[in-house]
């Protein structure tokens, strides 16, 4: 019975390519958390992916065919993501898949896409092991350790911090960022005076911050998502902490600004999206996103847009919807103009090489502060 269904699965997945042709559309699978604690990020990701499909279809589609996005909600759960992977491959017979989800569900389902040879482009999940699933998995967002390293570089070399306190969120995302950060900051001569960890969803940061205040650091690096980040910034201000707070892409959300209010001003983050980017694609995305969804675009959205966009570029280059050809085209993408910057290409592990943006909150808005494009920092090590 089991063997039978496996066999059926393989047959169906082999048929997928030809059926996609027959329908006159190219089906791209998409999964993100649309319910549960991560619903806000998942919705931004979905919006942006839909925007990318709209843009692609408005300019003639791919290979003369319209693109159809097939969206599923994984509720940020790995069990659901695995079920979705099977459904996308066997029932929907998609050509390729984009993950608009977090590390845990993406990590659980990546090996399935790899096994069925369905190209998977990961938008913003940061965990190192995702791309280790195999050569069909690519990541358009930063590897956490790369971004952490860039953060360490910014702290020590750009902001000249000497004494640094680190607040690590205790999950894959937070831990890998902090690891990269601490290594680079220490290498550049800064002293880590504290490294404390808090749980995802933590709201009361005051016990940590009261302790940090007594240590008197000149910079605090925090690896929370926007909610934890905003509350860190807000509570630090109300405790009278004057140190600069350095965040990362987790902070990059309009919600961060709303929750923290005036306390956000002066916060610096490393991220993918530069709000003051003058390149047409980025400007188009930012204006269009505001217009269609009445919201400020965020890094999660920008990365999901790029994931769909780079995939469509690869299908065009491959001149085919055959999985192996798309994979090859993705691997050979060079100098691609994405919303999240000028993408140099993918390493042989499927990791993106692109500059890390530094944004600073000024008058309640993320604004350009700088960019890290030193190859030794932004190139992921194998």
């Amino acid at each position: 019975m089991r063997f039978k269904s496996l066999f059926l699965g393989i047959v169906l997945s082999l048929m997928s390519v030809s059926l996609a042709f027959a329908g006159g559309v190219i089906k791209i699978g998409f999964f993100s958390p649309l319910t549960g604690f991560a619903a806000a990020d998942g919705t931004s990701a979905k919006h942006a992916a839909m925007l990318a499909v709209e843009k692609i279809n408005a300019t003639g589609g791919i290979l003369g065919k319209k693109v159809k996005l097939i969206v599923y909600d994984d509720a940020a759960s790995s069990q659901q993501a695995v079920a979705i992977a099977r459904k996308l491959i066997q029932e929907n017979k998609v050509t390729a898949v984009v993950s608009g989800s977090y590390s845990t569900p993406t990590r659980a389902s990546a090996p399935i896409y790899q096994r069925y040879h369905i190209p998977l482009v990961v938008a913003y999940a940061t965990h190192p092991s995702i791309t280790k699933a195999g050569n069909y998995v690519f990541r358009i967002g930063f590897l956490a350790t790369v971004e952490g390293k860039a953060g360490g570089y910014v702290a020590a070399k750009v902001l000249h911090a000497k004494r640094i306190a680190v607040l690590t969120m205790d999950n894959d995302f937070g831990r890998s960022l902090s690891k990269g950060f601490v290594e680079e900051a220490q290498k550049s001569g800064a002293k880590i005076v504290a490294n404390m960890s808090f749980a995802l969803g933590a709201q009361d940061m005051s016990p940590f911050l009261t302790k940090i205040k007594a240590l008197n650091p000149d910079l605090i690096y925090c690896t929370g998502y926007y909610s934890e980040g905003a509350l860190t910034v807000k509570q630090a201000k109300s405790l009278g902490i004057k140190a600069t707070i350095l965040g990362q892409e987790g902070f990059d959300s309009p919600m961060f600004l709303k929750i923290s209010g005036d306390a956000a001003n002066g916060t610096i983050i490393t991220t993918d999206l530069n709000r003051n980017d003058q390149r047409p694609i980025a400007k188009w995305f930012i204006t269009q996103y505001r217009k269609e969804y009445k919201m400020e675009p965020d890094m999660v959205g920008a990365s999901s847009f790029d994931a769909v966009y780079v995939l469509s570029e690869a299908i065009k280059k491959a001149k085919s919807t055959k999985a192996a050809k798309i994979r090859n085209a993705l691997a050979h993408i060079k100098n691609f103009n994405g919303v999240t910057g000028f993408i140099k290409g993918f390493t042989k592990d499927g990791e993106v090489v692109k500059p890390v943006q530094i944004q600073k909150v000024v008058n309640g808005q993320f604004t350009y502060f700088g960019v890290v494009d030193k190859p030794s920092i932004i190139t992921p090590k194998d």
Partner: protein, 290 residues
């Protein structure tokens, strides 16, 4: 620093107390593990937030969230728990969990998945007293929880309703024979306990400036741990357990640097209490007094 940490801990403890005292009250009379209490908390937060956005008055928001909490609590009791009361308590528990998830997800469907926040100038400021810093939002939480807990104390200890409540929770049948309308008491108890869950939702929403549909997840199980520590149906046990757990959480992070996840501490404490003093901490205190 220690004093600052104690203040931080007491504020969190005060919030826990508002949620768990109502839960203990409800458990006391129906012996139902009312998980949906945390759903009432989420609804209270949204109602309070939107009342504030519409009227600009935090006092109105407090009343609105309490009213919404009370109404919702009564509806749950009348239409879910009451029809199920003849079955095993497990059935009510399952209904309660289902209700909790439905309440949270319906808030998400109505108000969207994004975190909602209060206008940025609400409780935005701090007072320096010597080396101590207290934020306006902290003062607001402290003041409102002290006022509410005093009210709960007055109602349960000094009124006829409080007396009748005690009678019903000790033995419903005997209370009935003594002329107490137990249905009415249960109704009022649900309204009263749920009003404070609604209020707690608003306070937490304002304190952390974030109202979102899944904000009830942690309170849903932590409040259960707290009432176990407090002795299940003991309202004052729940009060002391809340303050104690608030302080233990804050001090273990801020002074002792215990690397355990914060939300596990309440459960470790719960397990210890179940092992050594299953009647709850009030018995522990009583033992000390002797």
């Amino acid at each position: 620093m220690l004093f600052q940490q104690i203040i931080n801990g007491l504020i969190i403890g005060g919030i826990y107390a508002l949620i768990s005292m109502g839960l203990a009250l409800v458990y006391g009379i129906l012996r139902i593990i009312h998980v949906a209490h945390a759903g009432v908390y989420v609804v209270g937060a949204y109602v309070g937030l939107y009342t504030f956005l519409l009227t600009g008055s935090f006092i109105f928001a407090i009343f609105a969230s309490m009213t919404a909490g009370a109404i919702l609590g009564v509806i749950i009791q009348q239409y879910v728990y009451f029809p199920l009361i003849k079955h095993s308590p497990i059935i009510s528990l399952i209904a309660s969990i289902g209700l909790f998830i439905s309440l949270e997800e319906s808030m998400r469907l109505i108000f969207g998945p994004y975190i909602k926040s209060f206008p940025k100038d609400l409780f935005n400021g701090e007072y320096h007293i010597g080396g101590l810093v207290i934020g306006q939002s902290q003062l607001m939480v402290l003041f409102t929880s002290i006022a509410s807990i005093t009210l709960i104390w007055y109602v349960t200890q000094k009124t006829r309703f409080g007396l009748a409540l005690k009678a019903v929770s000790q033995d419903m049948d005997i209370a009935e024979t003594l002329g107490i309308n137990s249905k009415k008491i249960i109704f009022t108890a649900f309204a009263f306990g749920s009003a404070f869950a609604g209020l707690a939702g608003l306070l937490v929403g304002a304190y952390f400036n974030s109202v979102f549909s899944s904000m009830g997840d942690v309170p849903a199980y932590k409040a259960l741990a707290i009432i176990v520590v407090g002795g299940m149906s003991n309202i004052w046990g729940a009060f002391w357990a809340s303050l104690l757990i608030g302080l233990i959480e804050t001090l273990s992070i801020g002074i002792l640097s215990i690397p355990l996840p914060r939300n596990s501490l309440a459960f470790i404490f719960m397990i210890l209490i179940l092992l050594f003093k299953p009647e709850g901490i009030m018995e522990l205190f009583r033992g000390l007094r002797k």
